[in-house]
């Protein structure tokens, strides 16, 4: 009996529940799809390091899932509470008929169960279907081969989805039961009869609050947009909190002022159905100030996360070609001031049983130097004090890295990049890390003097030149000084480099051969040394390492893909949540307003006018939080670009475009569904 009642309740209020059910299904399927990525990736041909990346991605997704579950859980509780409020009259009827609260609880329990099981089932089916497509996406993102397509179902992901959602539904059930025990018959019965009360906020107060909130936002925008370097982690949180508060007050005051402003424009206000449209809108916004704030912030986070994630991925791939022109880089660093017994890495390897030149077609050996008396602080010149004030966290007492002009040009020959030339008393500053360039440029001018190893050199250029020596995917050269060969002659090298291209076409085999050979050579060197002389004997090696294009590429592509996936995951869930909250409110408002539209028809409003009014209401309602979120994002992105510079992100246009299209698809989708559902609700013949 109870079951039948529950089922018929759901069927009857399908109109209200449809968007809730729809959202749950999307939530379940998104949850499954992302948690099943590991399983999908297993069907692909991948290298070990790519598997590691996928594994990392899986771990990160499972961590993120806890957060996502939290967001979805809150959404579900909000939605079910919202839908329950709409049924107060029905509960009142049950209670007047003598049904106990326990029974009402049981009905709600059953309803939640039916909806839960239904949405889980449908969501999982859709999720399993969608996740077949993610194989292709994973393959594309990680640049792996899709050898053969195989239909896969991830049992682990299913169990996880079911458990997480079961917990969420359980919370909803507990919550509902709690609400039922606190229901009072008199309140329930009166709940439907209360006619709408229109409270206009004090306009003066609204204007004051608006001005204050806007000023606060302006200040925060300035902080994140133009003063971002001073922001530390704690103050970033404080700025976000202050921004959230300002957002709330903007909505609060706008909801109070909006109508008055519109009302003062008499010709617009008293044109067509405008007065009705604006009133409807104003009452919606008035009751949704808090929700709108949350939605605005979620949209803001989504826009920033997605844009950053996509641009990190894009620039990762792009930089690879520019910043990693050769296959292999070996580096050995020495204790300062003590001369190595080997001329270069080639000789070191040869003497320890590995002929490194055999594995390379093209290569260069070179060294870099550092002058303990020429520090970062000295190199900045006049800009030092400014720099210290702005970037207090930098280490100003590290010696600058120096390279001989001839060595640098030899390397550029190998890299296929432009060579440099200069007079014997000049130096050239190289740097490609944007904020560092800005910092260093302040102290540079043509002829600016610096003393290196006791010699005074003049800057050839008024600014830093683009250049680097280490292969990477990021613009991370924070400063390297090219000096005339004569300046460092007789000085002890700081670091030795060996950089080159493999002779073999089988890059993976070559990488392994070089890796093994170099490793063996270093071990031999170490084994032949006596303990008194240090690990690497009289060579004074303090450390060594290597980087290869293959490693860099996989890491870069993998990192880009991980960031993109996580961004997508969080972004999708946030967008769904935002869309669902607005849609629920709008649809239930439409149900409440059926009578008003009926009325409009009776006094002769045309159907097209009514549709336009509804479209405007829904549109503005969806647009309001989006507009503020977009404005926030402009400055948020300005702040993030500062960090994205490391990844060489100069243009975020394409990733912003991609974000906008995702937003349009999901948020816009919710808008359209809401509009058409509302339209069918209000045109229903009673």
């Amino acid at each position: 009996m109870l079951f039948k009642l529950s089922l018929s309740n759901i069927r009857r209020s399908m109109r209200d529940y449809a968007i809730y059910f729809f959202t749950l299904i999307i939530g379940v399927s998104v949850f499954y799809v992302f948690n099943a990525i590991g399983g999908q990736a297993a069907t692909l041909e991948m290298s070990d390091s790519q598997y590691e990346m996928i594994h990392l991605l899986e771990t990160l997704i499972s961590g993120t899932s806890v957060f996502v579950a939290g967001v979805l859980g809150l959404l579900i509780v909000y939605a079910s509470r919202f839908l329950m409020k709409r049924r107060n009259r029905e509960f009142a009827l049950y209670m007047t008929l003598g049904m106990s609260k326990r029974k009402i609880s049981a009905i709600l329990l059953l309803e939640t169960l039916i909806i839960g099981v239904g949405s889980l089932f449908v969501g999982l089916v859709i999720g399993i279907g969608l996740s077949q497509l993610t194989s292709a996406l994973v393959a594309n993102m990680f640049e792996a081969n899709m050898a053969s397509y195989k239909f896969t179902v991830s049992g682990g992901a299913i169990v996880k989805t079911v458990v997480y959602f079961a917990v969420m539904y359980l919370v909803v059930m507990l919550f509902n039961s709690f609400v039922v025990t606190r229901m009072k018959l008199i309140n329930l019965m009166q709940s439907g009869k209360k006619s709408e009360q229109i409270k206009l906020k004090n306009p003066v107060l609204c204007v004051i609050v608006f001005v204050l909130a806007a000023a606060l936002l302006g200040y925060l925008y300035y902080q994140v947009g133009w003063n971002s370097v001073r922001i530390e982690r704690n103050s970033a949180l404080a700025i976000f909190a202050a921004g959230s508060a300002a957002t709330f007050f903007i909505f609060w005051s706008v909801s109070g002022m909006l109508l008055r402003v519109l009302m003062s424009m008499k010709n617009t206000y008293f044109s067509g159905l405008n007065s009705f449209t604006f009133r409807q809108l104003s009452s919606k916004v008035n009751t949704m100030v808090f929700s709108m704030t949350i939605i605005c912030l979620m949209l803001f986070i989504t826009i920033c996360t997605l844009s950053s994630a996509f641009s990190i991925r894009n620039s990762m791939n792009k930089n690879l070609n520019e910043l990693c022109p050769v296959d292999h880089e070996l580096v050995i660093s020495y204790d300062t001031g003590i001369e190595s017994e080997y001329d270069d890495i080639t000789e070191l390897c040869k003497d320890n049983g590995y002929d490194i030149t055999a594995d390379f077609s093209d290569y260069v050996n070179f060294t870099t130097y550092s002058d303990p008396a020429f520090l970062f602080a000295d190199s900045l010149g006049d800009a030092f004090e400014d720099a210290q004030a702005m970037y207090s966290f930098l280490q100003y007492d590290t010696p600058e890295q120096l390279i001989r002009l001839s060595d640098y040009n030899a390397l550029m020959e190998l890299y296929g990049r432009e060579k440099l030339s200069m007079a014997d008393d000049e130096f050239i500053m190289l740097c490609n890390y944007t904020s560092m360039i800005n910092l260093r440029n302040k102290g540079l001018s043509v002829g600016a003097e610096r003393t290196v190893f006791g010699q005074t050199l003049k800057s050839k250029y008024a600014s830093c030149q683009d250049g680097f020596i280490d292969i990477s995917t990021e613009h991370i050269n924070a400063g390297l000084i090219v000096v005339p060969d004569s300046v460092v002659s007789g000085e002890v090298p700081d670091t030795e480099y060996f950089i080159g291209d493999y002779s073999s076409d089988d890059k993976e085999a070559a990488e392994k051969a070089v890796h093994d050979g170099f490793d063996t050579a270093m071990r031999t060197l170490s084994a032949n040394s006596s303990n008194e002389e240090g690990v690497y004997g009289s060579s004074n090696i303090s450390g060594y390492g290597w980087t290869t294009k293959l490693e860099i590429k996989e890491a870069a592509v993998g990192l880009g893909a991980i960031v993109a996936f996580l961004g997508l995951y969080v972004g999708l869930v946030f967008l769904i949540a935002c869309g669902a909250i607005l849609a629920l409110k709008e649809l239930s408002d439409s149900v409440d307003s059926i009578g008003r539209y009926e009325m409009l028809r009776k006094i002769g409003a045309e159907e097209s006018d009514i549709s336009r009014s509804l479209f405007r209401q829904t549109g503005i309602f969806f647009l309001l939080p989006l507009v503020l979120a977009a404005i926030h994002s402009v400055f948020g992105m300005k702040f993030l670009i500062f960090f994205l510079q490391v990844f060489g992100t100069n243009s975020i246009a394409s990733s912003v475009g991609l974000t906008a299209s995702m937003l349009l698809l999901i948020y816009g989708g919710y808008f359209l569904v809401t509009y058409f559902c509302s339209k069918s609700i209000i045109s229903e013949k009673r």
Binding site: E196, R279, E606
Partner: protein
């Protein structure tokens, strides 16, 4: 001058097996400037008749002409436009938009007709004086009494200068004092402003304010009364006589 002409209209509900004749061959005419009441017991078909005239419902057979236009032939947009430009409605439950102030409720009827804000303002001012609601113009429906609400609704109905004002049980939700006040206003609108009013009611007191009464029973015209030179009291007594004749549940309305 003949304004409204009802020609042998019929309205059937239900299927062939269980047919209900809500209106069964009714014909009459209303002249310009008349104040007609239609009386009948619940279920007699009086509201159906009003709905058909107001184009909210469609007749099964017959024609309704308003100033020569056959409204039963109108469809879709033309129907909406016709209703908007020619008819004014007053409902038992006021049907004011609770989100709008009285002023805005009245103005809405004009702005739907795409009148300018200036014209609207002037018209609202005038009509609010006629209906004595100047001091509630900036109030919301929930801040007004039933009588005030109904007068605002009436103002909305006549502000567009409709050819015909249709009122469905306008006093049904009002206490007797408010009802009397409203009816005085109706008479004022009819006499001084020349509004043609057609009102459906089952209340004899309400009907006694009209200049002519059409009694309906079981979907047919049962009788008709003209006020002539009678005072309202005399007219009321004559109504009671007919109502007694009508019998049935109509007599509860005494």
């Amino acid at each position: 001058m003949e304004l409204l002409k009802i020609q042998q209209i019929e309205k059937y509900y239900g299927s062939k097996s269980s047919l209900t004749k809500a209106i069964d061959d009714i014909s009459f005419t209303v002249d310009k400037g008349e104040f007609v009441a239609i009386m009948g017991a619940s279920g007699s078909g009086k509201t159906t008749l009003l709905n058909c005239i107001s184009t909210i419902d469609r007749v099964t057979a017959g024609h309704i002409f308003l100033e020569g236009t056959d409204v039963t032939a109108l469809k879709g947009k033309a129907l909406n436009k016709f209703r908007r430009d020619n008819l004014g409605f007053i409902f038992q439950d006021f049907n004011l938009l609770d989100t709008l102030t009285a002023y805005e409720n009245i103005a809405l009827a004009l702005s739907i007709q795409k009148k300018s804000a200036k014209e609207t303002d002037a018209a609202v001012k005038t009509v609010s004086e006629q209906l004595d609601i100047k001091d509630v113009l900036n109030k919301y429906p929930y801040q007004m009494s039933g009588g005030q609400k109904q007068r605002v609704a009436s103002a909305r109905a006549i502000v567009t200068n409709p050819k015909l004002v249709l009122a469905d049980e306008p006093t049904g939700a009002l206490d007797s004092k408010s009802a009397k006040l409203l009816l005085e206003r109706f008479r004022y609108l009819n006499k001084e402003c020349g509004a043609t009013i057609m009102m459906v009611t089952h209340d004899s007191f309400t009907a006694s304010y009209a200049s002519r009464i059409i009694f309906i029973k079981d979907g047919k015209i049962f009788s008709e009364l003209s006020r002539g030179d009678n005072t309202r009291k005399q007219f009321f007594d004559r109504i009671i006589d007919v109502v007694t004749l009508l019998g049935g549940d109509m007599s509860d309305a005494l």
